[in-house]
């Protein structure tokens, strides 16, 4: 139901029309020294740099640099071609356990990024550090944990054996990429930032998460209290909002992280219609060194609609019920289920 909201709210910007955006896009994509314009960020009445508005972090650039790409920046021509290639795949999306049988056409309801605001960045990966644009190698401990997680999943049985075996996003519990860190995904990458004295609030459309970030310098939650989204505290570093997040659960597992991941997000308004969002992941028990990514957020139109994911999750029930029906049919036919 609420999934349709974006179709109404979307700003039309096809990859072809992106070309018209070149000057702004080039500024956002260039190395940090490019801020030559005398633009300054507005202040809220209580003196905070004003980040408020509706934003989208839809982007075609992959988190990690593709192995066959060896440079940090594309030319504009290459970047546009890359976006166009990615945009063409949006009509045909298959994922999850039913991938072979089910596909989604994200363009049908305007859910695709190409019908929304998408920043054009010349970067070949969102990861800016390390310089190779890729997540650093896992430590021995990180590899061991990853292997244990795979083994535990295997032991739990087939994905459709039990609801707990299915991906968290299918279960409407945690959308892995809406974070924190907030990376955006295939669709519905909409956020609203609100500020009042003492707080910055980031309303994340999917999955109706309001990240309430206190700025009072108070402590994080006690270490024994763990949350899917962690515990966030913020402060201003000049024009930049810095959010420190700890207390993740072991199940949050961002890109294979442990519960001890320390996340630092930095949000800076670099233009009236653009934020620079950077995040650094520090988890020595998982990766040999911290790593940092940068995503441009473009201004978009509201409102943020109610994302009642769990309430309308018929697909989840039907996936499981379908698997049981197949097993029953297979048993009746006297053969082993194909699943």
């Amino acid at each position: 139901m609420s999934v349709l909201g974006i179709a109404v709210a979307a700003v039309w910007l096809t990859p072809a029309s992106v070309a018209a955006q070149r000057p702004a896009a080039a500024a956002s994509a260039a190395p940090p020294s490019a801020a030559a314009k005398p633009w300054t960020v507005r202040r809220t009445p209580d003196g905070q740099p004003d980040l408020q508005g509706y934003w989208t972090n839809s982007i075609y650039t992959p988190l990690q640099r593709p192995k066959e790409v060896t440079k940090e920046f594309y030319t504009e021509q290459e970047a546009l071609e890359s976006m166009k290639r990615e945009a063409e795949t949006e009509a045909e999306v298959s994922e999850g356990p039913g991938a072979a049988d089910v596909h989604f056409d994200l363009t049908q309801f305007g859910l695709d990024k190409s019908q929304s605001s998408v920043a054009l960045t010349l970067r070949t990966s969102l990861i800016v550090d390390p310089a190779d644009g890729r997540i650093p190698p896992m430590t021995a401990e990180g590899q061991k944990r990853a292997a244990e997680r795979v083994a535990a999943r295997k032991q739990a049985g087939a994905p459709t054996d039990a609801v707990q075996n299915l991906p968290l996003q299918d279960r409407c519990i945690h959308m892995g990429r809406t974070g924190p860190p907030m990376l955006g995904q295939k669709y519905q990458n909409n956020y609203q930032i609100l500020q009042e004295p003492g707080y910055v609030v980031i309303l994340v459309e999917m999955n109706h998460d309001a990240r309430i970030i206190p700025l009072d310098g108070g402590p994080q939650l006690p270490p024994n209290v763990r949350q899917w989204l962690g515990s966030s505290r913020g402060h201003w570093d000049g024009e930049t909002l810095v959010i420190e997040t700890t207390n993740f659960t072991d199940k949050t597992a961002f890109q294979g992280s442990s519960e001890n991941m320390h996340l630092t997000e930095r949000i800076t308004r670099v233009a009236e219609d653009e934020l620079r969002y950077q995040f650094t992941v520090d988890d020595p028990s998982t990766w040999s060194r911290p790593w940092t990514a940068e995503v441009p957020w473009k201004i978009t139109q509201g409102p943020i609609f109610e994302h009642a994911c769990h309430e309308g999750n018929y697909g989840l029930y039907n996936t499981l019920a379908g698997a049981r029906a197949e097993e029953k049919a297979a048993a009746a036919a006297g053969k082993k289920p194909s699943n």
Binding site: W228, A308, E311
Partner: protein
């Protein structure tokens, strides 16, 4: 202190706040607020502190302290439905929050309510971790936070981490039905008035099966009576279910704990075996 135009004396420091915030300090100008009966009988002498744009400032973490969660009407204590929970699952007794009574159900709706009550263990949307609806979200036994800006007021509830936007200047008709409805807000002097429509027919008022249809129209009024108290009033109109509009009211209390915050309450995980257990693969299958 200030002399207000209606003749009441306004205190800027309540005694309670003095003891909490100003330990050991000498504070002058403490006066008791002079209650003035106004409107629907609420004490209205208090003038709330102001936001930078001059509106009553309701930002903060609040919570109802009553038993409407079990039944918005007056009710005696009663056993719960889950044997294993014993007294921990009991219904707490309460005087109710509905003004006048009983609830003016149409005959068919009264029957529906009775059936809801009998089957509440399976029908109550709270049991399934569904979004709570309005006004129920207000008096569930958890805190909620009001985030106040001139154009948008956000209410973030603990239960299910439900979040609701009140549009203060971009008023529009509900684009379609939703669990928490579409809320247009306005200021009437000291009072925040929130007009909400566009509900679906899936939410209830409490655990006792009191319900509404998709024709529900809720008008809420939030008015401060001290730095740490709001009076909450909700007028309920639903011509498909009730014979006339009716009203509930209750105080809301500020959560004063240091580091008070809305914590994560993602309850979907807690109800998966309940909802999907029947389609789980059985061992030996």
């Amino acid at each position: 202190m200030t002399l207000h135009e209606d003749g009441s004396v306004i205190n800027t420091h309540s005694i309670r706040r003095y003891f909490r915030l100003s330990f050991g300090a000498i504070v002058t100008g403490i006066v008791l607020s002079l209650a003035v009966t106004a409107g629907a009988g609420q004490a209205r002498a208090y003038k709330a502190t102001r936001t930078r744009d001059g509106k009553p400032n309701f930002a903060g973490i609040w919570q109802a302290l009553n038993e409407a969660n079990w039944d918005i009407e007056g009710h005696a204590a009663a056993p719960g439905l889950v044997l294993a929970l014993g007294a921990a699952g009991a219904v707490a007794p309460g005087l109710g929050v509905v003004e006048g009574g009983p609830l003016p159900y149409q005959p068919a709706a009264a029957l529906q309510r009775k059936q809801n009550f009998e089957k509440r263990l399976t029908l109550d949307p709270e049991v399934k971790c569904y979004l709570p609806g309005v006004p129920r979200a207000t008096y569930m036994p958890y805190p909620f936070q009001i985030i106040q800006t001139p154009k948008y007021i956000l209410i973030v509830y603990t239960y299910n981490n439900a979040v609701r936007t009140i549009y203060m200047d971009d008023h529009k008709e509900a684009p379609w039905d939703s669990w928490l409805g579409w809320s247009n807000g306005r200021w009437e002097g000291e009072t925040l008035v929130v007009d909400t429509t566009g509900f679906n027919d899936q939410t209830w008022f409490d655990r006792a099966g009191n319900f509404h249809s998709d024709a529900l129209h809720v008008v809420e009024r939030y008015t401060a009576t001290s730095p740490d108290h709001l009076v909450y009033e909700a007028t309920i109109e639903d011509p498909k279910v009730f014979t006339r509009p009716w009203k509930m009211s209750m105080p809301l209390y500020r959560r004063l704990e240091k580091n008070a915050q809305i914590m994560e309450f993602k309850c979907v995980e807690f109800v998966e075996d309940l909802i999907y257990g029947a389609v789980r693969k059985q061992s030996g299958q």
